[in-house]
Each structure stands twice: as C-alpha cells, then as structure tokens.
C-alpha cells in the first residue's frame, strides 16, 4: 500500500514537469525531424510531401566538383582557423585570473574586474556597432591617426579579407576574456591556505608560488573547459560572423554556421544546407563523446 502511494507520488512529480519536457521536445528534439529535408529535393513553396525523395544526392553534391570541394574546404579551413586560434589561446583567461588575483590593491582589482567583464554582456550587433565606430573609414581610430599625421588614407580594417581569423579572435577575446576568468578566480579562491604558507616558508618567490601552487590547482578547471571547447569546435555560432561579414571578407569569414545560413537564406538551397547542418551536428556529438571518453580515461570523470 505504502509503496504504491510512493510510486504514484513519484509519477505525479513527473507529471508536474511534463509540460516543460514537452516544450523541450518540441523546440530541441523535434527539429531533428527537419533532417529529412536533407534527403528530399525541397524548394520552399512546394511542401515536403510533394518533393521528390533523392536519397544521398545532396551529400554527394557537396563533393561533386572541384569548385564545391574548394568552397567547402575554405569554409572548414575558416572554422578550424578561428576555433583553432581560440583553443591555442585558451590559457589566456587562466593567466588573466592568476595575475588579477596577484594584484593587492583591492580597488584597482575590482575596477579591472568590473570593467573587463562588461563587454560580455553586450550583443554581437552592439560589438559590431562599436567596431564600426572605432575602425570604419570615418571611425575614431582613423580620425585619430589622421589627425596625428600617421596616415593619409584610412586603414580599412573591417573591409579587408586579410587577417580576418585574427581580428575575429581578437573580438571574441575582447568580449569574453574578463568573464571567462571568473571560473578560474573561483578555482583560486578554493586553494588551501596551507599550500601558500608552506611555499613561503620554503622561501618561494611569487613566480614560484604561481608555478608550483596556483597553476597546478587550476589545471583541472582548465582541462574541463578545454574539453568543452574542443567538443564545440565546429560550433562558432552565427551571429558574430553574420554581423561582421561583408563583400570584402566573405571568403575568409564564412564559418560552417554562417555558410549553412547563407546557403539556405541567401541562396534558397535548404536541402544542401540541412545536409551540412546534419553532418556538423553528428560530428559535434561524436567529438563530444570522444572528448568525454578521453576525459574519463585521463581524469576518471567525464565532462558531461
């Protein structure tokens, strides 16, 4: 009797959350059904039910001729370039946090932390607007350089196809560095006092304390974040690249997410772009589970 009522109680609890699970099913899981578009010859006004089934045609079409292969390769290269730069410099927030907590002037430290986390809270559209005001041909930087007599004609930073990966990485770093450091600051707070004391008693210098006490305590956090970053290697997101793209930098700024968007919304090629979306999601999941497995193997615990 008692166990029966406990069971009905536990089911009732589930019923309370079920509306939310339905929402999740609709907005996160049902879109998976959209993958069928990749196997049909779908053109927008005609409904899917009347579109011909074409099997793997669109997947083949991706590698059908050299032009398309080159295009896709360039997009993959851009994705790898920008994500690669981020991973290469993924230690920056950690270093940022270490040196920030080394600052003993409390006011200065708080000021720095407040100010450097601010950009994290504005949208990419606003970042672009700031970038435009700073670096466009009539922007503040060009105005300043011109006034100082350093340049005669404006430097066109936003309309250049060169160094796009680097400038995109710089904007990402500008936006997120201060914020990303917070997790590491939390890790530093958790370090056992006695470790510091022991190090000072042994006569360690500040750099030695950082190297032998602080850094090793941060590595688990760093490792988890690095794994997550690797798992989302292909997911650069759309917004940043969408707002920064223009006729000049189109070739080097198109990452997978933007490419998929441009194909569908710009070119109307829904089926091809769903095919790429689908491959991308599958590879991402494989990456996530590999990284999770690797993490289990190396540290004995997964990241997901």
């Amino acid at each position: 009797m008692r166990s029966h009522s406990m069971k009905s109680n536990s089911i009732r609890k589930f019923l309370y959350i079920s509306p939310f699970m339905v929402l999740l099913a609709v907005f996160a899981y049902y879109p998976l059904y959209g993958w069928v578009y990749a196997f049909f010859d779908y053109t927008p006004p005609i409904p899917l039910s009347q579109s011909p089934f074409v099997g793997l045609k669109w997947f083949h079409s991706l590698i059908e001729n050299q032009v398309k292969i080159d295009q896709l390769l360039q997009v993959i290269k851009n994705t790898f370039g920008i994500s690669g730069l981020s991973i290469l410099f993924s230690w920056l927030p950690m270093i940022f946090a270490i040196f920030l907590t080394e600052i003993k002037a409390v006011r200065f430290r708080k000021f720095i932390q407040t100010v450097t986390t601010l950009p994290n809270f504005i949208s990419w559209v606003l970042v672009y607007s700031l970038a435009f005001s700073m670096f466009s041909s009539e922007g503040v930087v060009n105005g300043f350089l011109h006034q100082m007599g350093f340049i005669d004609s404006p430097v066109l930073l936003l309309q250049s196809s060169e160094h796009v990966w680097v400038t995109m990485w710089v904007w990402i770093t500008w936006k997120t560095l201060g914020w990303s450091a917070i997790l590491y600051i939390a890790a530093i707070m958790g370090i056992d006092e006695s470790l510091y004391e022991a190090a000072y008693v042994d006569g360690a210098t500040r750099m030695q304390v950082i190297r032998h006490v602080v850094l090793p305590s941060m590595l688990p956090t760093y490792f988890v974040l690095l794994m997550l970053q690797i798992a989302s290697f292909l997911n650069n997101g759309l917004e940043q690249y969408f707002v920064f793209q223009n006729a000049f930098n189109k070739d080097t700024i198109q990452v997978l997410d933007l490419y998929v968007y441009n194909l569908a919304m710009g070119g109307g090629s829904y089926s091809v772009s769903v095919a790429i979306s689908m491959l991308k999601s599958i590879i991402s999941v494989v990456l996530l589970f590999s990284v999770n497995g690797l993490s289990k193997l190396l540290r004995g615990e997964g990241i997901v």
């Binding site: 536990s10 609890k13 589930f14 309370y16 959350i17 939310f20 699970m21 929402l23 999740l24 907005f27 996160a28 899981y29 879109p31 959209g34 578009y37 920030l100 080394e102 409390v106 200065f108 708080k110 000021f111 932390q113 407040t114 986390t117 601010l118 809270f121 504005i122 949208s123 990419w124 559209v125 606003l126 672009y128 607007s129 700031l130 005001s133 503040v140 105005g143 300043f144 500008w174 917070i182 997790l183 939390a186 707070m189 006092e193 000072y200 210098t205 750099m207 917004e239 969408f242 707002v243 998929v260 968007y261 569908a264 829904y270 769903v274 979306s277 689908m278 999601s281 999941v285 997901v304």
Partner: protein, 320 residues
C-alpha cells in the same frame, strides 16, 4: 568579508600573511608587478573606451564628430541627436517589442528554471535521471539552425511574438544553477514542511522560492540580458516590421544609416528650427545614437548587478 563571498578577491588572510612574512620583494618581482599593472590598465582602457567614445560623440557637434575630431573630450555639446533619433519611425515600436520580450520572457524563464531546478532536486521523481539528462543534453546538441528554422515555420511561429518567448522557457544552464543551489540547502527544511502537510507546490512556493532569491536574481539578470541582446531569432523568423527587436533595428541602421540621416534632416528642414551644421544628422551620428540607446539599459543595470552575476556563476561552476 564580502570580498570572499563574491569571490572577487583572494583571501584577505593571504594578504595579511604577505605582510607578516615581510616577503622579500626582488627586482624581478617588482618588474612583473609593474608590467601586470600596465597590461591590466591597457586592457581595461580597451574595454571601456569604445563605449565612452560613442557617448561623447553622440553629444558632440555632429560636423566635428563626422570628421573624427572627438577623441577624448566632447566638443559643442548638444542633445539634438537623441531627440531626432526618437522620431525615426519604428524605433519606438522596436523598443516596446524588446522590452516586452525581456519582461515576459524573463518572468517565464525564471519561473520555469526555479520550478524545474527544484523538481530535479527531488529524490523520488519518476525517471528523474533520464529527464534531467534529456534536459541537459540540449546544451551540447542541437539539430542545427536550418532544421530549427523549418520547425519554427511549420509550427507557425514565424512572425509571431511567441517565437521570442517559448523556445527560451526551458533553459538547461539556469536549471543546473537552481538545482545546485537547492541541493545545497538543508534537506530538513523541505522535510519539516512535508510533515506539516505541505504539498509539493506549497513547499516550492513557501520554502524554496524565498530562500532561492540570490540565485533567482542571477538567473533573472542572465535571462533578461539574453532576451534584450537576442538578434538571431528576429533575423531568422521575423519579416513583419511590427515585431522587429531593437537589436535588429540597430543592425539595419548600421547598414543604411546614410539614408536615415537624409530622412531625418529633411524632416527637420520642414520645421522652423533649421538644423545647423552642428546638429544636422550624419550617418555616423544616427548609428552612434541608436547604439547608445540599445546599450544604455545594460550599462545602467550592469554595475548594480555585477556582484550577483559573479556569485551566480561561481555557484553554478561548482557542479556545471
């Protein structure tokens, strides 16, 4: 003390400790300190200056601003830009749309996150582990942007205000934050209420909600910022200009500010107050002024709530 709670500074004890030990400061250490101060100051400047620069440009004489002469101090201060920009048709409407989605979306997201976080902290829910994973995995895995768009279209959520609200109600990251928080509260609180005959909703409403205020404040701020900043959903789903959000309007203005400035100037030319060179709208002045209008709520709210964000993210980091 409050320092330690917000996690903003290293332990105050370790600062005292340095003094006590009268640590020998070598020249190398001093050099490092100086470099660190300079680098942090530079980065802080880089983070703040763009905002500052745009603000002083919008209140300076537009002809000087267009020539790029406003760099550190405003010159020829006036506020005509703000008056003119508010006259641009569509901007007021977009403001209302953004405000509405921020308020409604935030309320629903906070409510759902609180309830789900609380429910996932219950030991005895049927299939708890499965449903929790079902929720969390969506953080890492999605069908992709085009399948998502096609779904939204098939649900008739294009050109529909609900599209701004419904998909964001169940937010896995916020649920983790609340769940972690609730799990850290003493079990006895809920047990005592249950013994007194309180049902699950009473426990949630009377016991959990009041003590979860700090974490819910964090969720509210994050959620509001997300809603206010959201651009992609308008871009993908909305063609009806009545549903444009401020971010979307701003993006359009960046691309077509020159035609807007002509329009505003024509409008002003008709009125008795002829625009002087200093107050005449340029494409730069329009763009910058709208930027400030869009970023202002964040700049105003940010310093007040910064402590909450930091605390919240640290609570979430424990488990997340």
């Amino acid at each position: 003390m409050s320092d330690n709670q917000t996690g903003l500074s290293p332990n105050s004890r370790d600062i005292d400790f340095n003094k006590k030990m009268k640590m020998q400061v070598s020249t190398a250490d001093k050099l490092i300190s100086i470099t660190v101060y300079i680098l942090f100051s530079l980065f802080a400047f880089v983070c703040v200056y763009p905002f500052y620069s745009i603000i002083i440009n919008t209140i300076s004489a537009n002809d000087l601003s267009a020539k790029g002469e406003i760099i550190f101090w405003p010159k020829g201060i006036h506020f005509q830009n703000y008056i003119d920009v508010f006259k641009i048709p569509g901007l007021g409407n977009a403001f209302v749309v953004s405000l509405a989605r921020t308020v409604i979306g935030t309320l629903l997201t906070v409510g759902a996150s609180a309830f789900l976080g609380f429910m996932f902290a219950q030991e005895d829910m049927w299939g708890k582990k499965f449903w929790y994973r079902f929720t969390i995995i969506t953080m890492f895995f999605n069908a992709g942007i085009i399948p998502w768009y096609l779904t939204m279209r098939s649900l008739h959520l294009t050109d529909n205000f609900l599209a701004y609200i419904l998909p964001s109600i169940v937010a896995p990251f916020f649920i983790i934050l609340v769940k972690t928080f609730v799990e850290a509260t003493p079990k006895e609180l809920q047990q005592a209420a249950a013994i007194d005959g309180a049902g699950i909703f009473t426990i949630f409403y009377k016991v959990i909600l009041p003590i979860s205020k700090p974490i819910l404040a964090t969720v509210a701020i994050f959620s509001a910022v997300n809603q206010w900043n959201s651009f992609q959903d308008t871009l993908l789903l909305v063609t009806d200009s009545k549903l444009y959000s401020l971010q979307f309007i701003l993006y359009n203005y960046i691309n077509q500010a020159s035609s807007l400035s002509t329009m505003v100037n024509l409008q002003n030319a008709g009125s008795t107050a002829m625009a002087t060179l200093a107050t005449k709208q340029t494409s730069t002045s329009i763009r910058m002024t709208v930027t400030i209008i869009v970023v202002a709520p964040i700049l105003l709210v940010y310093p007040i709530f910064q402590r909450f964000f930091v605390k919240g993210i640290i609570i979430g980091a424990v488990k997340g």
